[in-house]
């Protein structure tokens, strides 16, 4: 009995170490590659590209963060604190933009705001035939697209904080003589701050690692530059230097957010709690609120989706709905299933051992798995690519390389639902099964697995959907001629074939919708 136990634990231990190695090796190799580069390469990059790229990336992140605050916080306030007809509907609708990958939104706005596009024509009706609007392929264009796409992160986190907000804090402030405004500024907002900051941190990480929108709108950021170095110049060394910079930048953002959150950990309300009352509003306010919310949801989801539907129904688009198109669908589904299954298989032992045997080794392995959190798609692709070229070149150009890159990239997302579901089961349940005569494996099969099943399913679905949308790693590592839906959207949109890109884009958006239900039901403060 004891022997069985020992051998199975050590098998698990081996699996965990292997998983950690799978993640750490590519990263280590990229770092070595960057650090072993000729100082002249560093100097050249530093003198030519780096300052501009850093400035572009940081200013974009800042501008998008500000705009998402403006979009996310007030909308969350409206749907949680005011009662008006349609409130429940808007509460869900405000999450919809997350189903839209950035490259889809970017390509729609490239058309809408583009030269001679519908918005410009409207504007010329008002301001005269020579009037121009800002180009979508500019700082402001990218900022608008990224903010419309990512504000739901801020919205979701602010909303859940507002829903769990203890109304007594506001009421006691009123009994201390504070007006509504002062209560909001000195009590409500400070208490919401940790959640708002966590939302903005997600937005910033998303923006910094985004490839789709910046590549379609031709805006130079670090992530885009890594991609260009790999494809245009085939200079993996320069690409790894830029990657390291990018990872350091993302880590800095992340650490700043962690530091901020640690400082305010005690903000959690405890004990008895009274939900704040919603303010009842009349028809005038309902009208105003509806216009506000409809504008936001319309710009971020309604108008783009309607355009996609319209384009998909056009004759050009109908013409490409042939067996080739279904081949792309099959490729996408196959890749996503492989990646999701592999990531869950890699993630389960990691999360399980870190929770049941929290030694420094196991916890270290788990933390290593979270490294993918700060790895933008092109960097993950680069890391896996250079490693495979070095040690197993015969796998280059196969699906295996791609799946490894996906696991590296999306494992953190999976772990975020695996870890809590394992932590929620008390070890007593497994121990009581052992006292009832079940072996280790039997216990796993009959007790542990059924209990964590939901967490595993959620992790699988999330990774599946993320892989479905993934663009840069797929572009860089796919076998020749192996196109997915995301690739088709990007390729057609790059050539401004709006109609041809629409069916694939629409399909990606529709498939992404169920994931939003998961997002709405999950506690976002845990993220």
């Amino acid at each position: 009995m004891i022997a069985v136990r020992r051998s199975s634990i050590s098998a698990l231990q081996l699996a965990v170490l292997a998983s950690a190695a799978l993640i750490l090796l590519p990263l280590g190799y990229v770092t070595t590659l960057a650090l072993s580069a000729d100082p002249a390469v560093w100097q050249r990059l530093w003198a030519t590209r780096v300052p501009e790229l850093l400035l572009n990336t940081v200013s974009l992140a800042g501008a998008v963060a500000l705009l998402t605050l403006v979009l996310g916080v007030p909308t969350a306030w409206m749907v949680t604190r005011i009662e008006f007809p349609g409130r429940r509907l808007w509460e869900v609708a405000l999450v919809l933009p997350l189903a839209m990958p950035t490259y889809v939104l970017a390509y729609v706005y490239n058309y809408l705001l583009g030269f001679g596009g519908p918005v410009e024509q409207l504007w010329q009706l008002v301001a005269g035939p020579q009037a121009r609007i800002f180009s979508p392929q500019s700082f402001w264009g990218v900022t608008l697209v990224m903010a419309l796409d990512t504000f739901p992160f801020v919205y979701l986190l602010t909303r859940s904080a507002l829903l769990s907000f203890n109304g007594s804090f506001e009421e006691v402030a009123r009994t201390c003589g504070a007006s509504r405004l002062r209560t909001m500024l000195s009590v409500t907002l400070p208490l919401l701050r940790p959640s708002i900051v966590a939302g903005v941190a997600l937005v910033v990480l998303y923006v910094v690692s985004d490839f789709g929108a910046v590549s379609l709108l031709r805006y130079q950021t670090l992530t885009y530059a890594v991609f260009q170095q790999m494809t245009g110049r085939s200079d993996n060394q320069a690409a790894s230097i830029l990657s390291i910079l990018l990872v350091v930048l993302a880590l800095l953002f992340l650490l700043a957010e962690r530091w901020f959150r640690r400082k305010s950990r005690f903000y959690q309300t405890t004990g008895h709690y009274r939900a704040p009352q919603r303010i009842q509003r009349g028809w005038l306010h309902t009208g105003l609120l509806t216009v506000c919310l409809a504008t936001v949801v319309g710009l971020a989801f309604g108008i783009p989706t309607s355009l996609l539907v319209m384009w998909s129904l056009s004759q050009e688009a109908q013409a490409i709905l042939d067996t080739r198109f279904f081949g792309f669908v099959w490729n996408s589904a196959l890749l996503s299933s492989l990646a999701a299954t592999a990531a869950v298989l890699v993630g389960l032992p990691l999360a399980y051992l870190a929770s049941r045997k929290p030694t420094w080794l196991n916890l270290g392995c788990l933390q290593a798995a979270y490294a993918g959190y700060v790895l933008p798609g092109p960097v993950a692709a680069l890391a896996v690519l250079v490693l495979f070229l070095k040690i197993m070149p015969f796998f280059y150009g196969t699906v295996l390389v791609l799946v490894v890159a996906y696991v590296l990239h999306f494992l953190p997302a999976g772990l975020q639902s695996l870890e809590p579901s394992i932590q929620q089961i008390t070890p007593n349940l497994e121990e009581v099964a052992r006292t009832l005569g079940l072996g280790v494996q039997e216990t796993w099969r009959r007790v542990t697995l059924p209990l964590i099943r939901n967490g595993v399913i959620v992790a699988w679905v999330l990774i599946f959907l993320q892989t479905m949308k993934e663009l840069p790693a797929t572009l860089l590592l796919r076998p020749v001629g192996f196109d997915t839906l995301a690739i088709r959207v990007w390729l057609e949109a790059s050539e401004e074939y709006y109609q041809l890109a629409a069916p694939s884009a629409l399909l990606i958006v529709l498939v992404g919708l169920p994931a939003l239900l998961l997002l709405l039901s999950r506690d976002w403060r845990a993220a």
């Binding site: 804090f169 006691v172 402030a173 009994t175 201390c176 504070a178 400070p190 208490l191 305010s264 903000y267």
Partner: protein, 376 residues
Amino acid sequence: MVHSPSHTAHTDTNPPDSQVDLYGPTSSILELRSVSCAYDLSRPAIRNISFSIREGEILCLLGPSGCGKTTILRAIAGFEPVRSGQIFLSDRLVSSCAETVPTEERRVGMVFQEYALFPHLRVADNIAFGLHQLSRAERTSRVQEMLQLTGLEGLERRYPHELSGGQQQRVALSRALVQNPVLLLLDEPFSNLDPDMASRMRQDLHALLHRTKTTTILVTHDHDEAFAMADRIAVLNCGEIEQLDSPELIYHLPATWFVADFVGQADFITGQIQQGVVRTELGAFPNTIDGIEGAHVVVMIRPDDIHLIPNKSAEPRIVARQFRGSENLYTVQLPSGQVVHGSESSTSVYHEGTAVELRVSATHTVLFSAEPPPCS
């Protein structure tokens, strides 16, 4: 437990003017005139609530959960709109169905059940929260004064999560008292403390409120707490006041069946009016409610009114004994099957099955009509 007014001495509880007269012409700090609050499924409704409170008085709203006592408190604070009736604070109309003066203009202090200390502010800043109109120096001195009064010196730099439950409660109290409120509202202030701490805090708070002559309304579901703290108690049930009296009268002369049952252990012995007296299994009682001949009534008897004398020829039998430290509570079965309770000092111990004779020595006889009507 949810019995409702079964009438009898109801009339002298309600119009509060009779109470005010008792204490001579003092200005009332707060007056509620037949206040009702809108019905909302999540919050208990209150109907036709009237009472007033004198300066420096501690009034306790006592009742089971869901009886509307917190709703009354929130209506006074201005959080709950009033559907009908008026609320006057310092002779100013603050709530009516037409208008509600905002909470911040009412000058009421409030201590919430969970204290609601601002977690992002230190103790000193929590207490100074309502003093923003004062100069910095004045603010500091007021806070210091308050810290001394509540015994919190040395804790002013702490954050709320670094305090014990009792300390948190005192900070919440300081924050409410520092603005010299006209009226202090306490919502179940001791429910988050363990029993030992609660009884100590109760004594401290009582002394502090008397020293500062703070007019206070305290909400609780615990009758011991109400007895210990209050000058007057209003017992609430199903959104209405059943009785408003001193703690002693509430205990000894409950106006309704519900009040009798809620404020302490009581037995209800059935009886019938015959020849001007109430005949029961435990003997005859005076007919204090002028019931008509032949009517069925119940007599309320508290355990401390019953004395047990072992007597082999007596029919009642002890069926259970519960040791309570200072006393023993005996459950006694009468020949008819009716069960009554009697308490004896804990030094005399009778075993189960002992035949006992019962002596009832009530100073007041409390009678109710036979059946408690169900809660409306």
